[in-house]
Symmetry: C2
Subunit: 167 residues, 2 copies
């Protein structure tokens, strides 16, 4: 059973940009998600590649996850006809102390939001904390990409945004 | 864009069994479906193979469809943890006049139900009508496998079953 352990953080400042190894543009939408389903079903176009991803809907950092490469044309058709609102972002890969942080810089209706994700082998695994790493938001559901599709950052209240910036 | 054109019929009698070329056991469940989603997302185990299938939720016989082979272990995990109720059936392949009818003989909570499916190139395509081919039910949503998972044949009312048997 594939398991994904992922921690998510806000970002402080722009210093991380100096260490970007590579970047790619992503478009993703959801065919299904909780509460109607027990999992999210995501279609992602990343550069010229495309993937179907199925992730258990349990909250937190440990989740069952399945991912399959699919034809680009299929993904584009599904995003156009079967998915809800599409999330656009640029994913930057930043290596720091032998760990790779994936920093998602959103555009479109989520412009202004930047978050860093880190995959780990265990929930308790130690990891580096670069100076630009901000508050952890792993357990805040409004930062799930599924929720960013339905309730984008541009529509967040001042309270929702300010709470994010608290230490 | 892959398009599926499929017509579905009830079966009269057992004469079709003499022409079965091969049969396989199938288990399938749904990760999502309408009305919450614009498509159904189906996991199927067929013999030792497994597939993920995404089908647009539009009613009738013409539907967008995408299908991908996936690892058997993934499918079994998804059926156990992420899908709703699982539909069990034995699929028989019956060739008749250069067309292949797929005859699904359900078991478990749908035991007693047998339907024949025929894939066609166009909605209006001519096709043979063997003597055992009964009433067409392509447009009756209670025969969709998605609905058989949620409202199985064993729970159908007498009226639902009798209406099926009308000419």
């Amino acid at each position: 059973m594939p398991i994904e352990i992922e921690r998510k953080f806000l970002i402080t400042g722009d210093a991380w940009r100096a260490d970007v190894a590579r970047s790619e543009t992503m478009l993703q939408g959801y065919l299904a998600g909780p509460p109607a389903a027990r999992c999210s079903v995501r279609v992602r176009v990343a550069g010229e590649s495309a993937f179907l991803n199925i992730k258990a809907a349990a909250p937190g950092v440990v989740r069952d996850e399945f991912e399959y490469a699919i034809p680009l044309a299929d993904a584009r058709a599904m995003l156009a006809k079967l998915a809800g609102d599409v999330v656009e972002k640029r994913r930057h890969h930043v290596e720091f102390d032998s760990h790779v942080f994936e920093i998602d810089e959103f555009s479109g209706s989520n412009a202004g939001l930047i978050v860093a994700e880190l995959e780990l082998d265990t929930v308790e695994a130690a990891f580096p904390r670069p100076a630009w790493l901000g508050r952890e938001v792993s357990n805040l559901s409004r930062y799930y990409n599924l929720n960013l599709a339905m309730h984008p950052y541009s529509q967040w209240s001042v309270a929702e945004r300010n709470a994010d910036d608290a230490p």
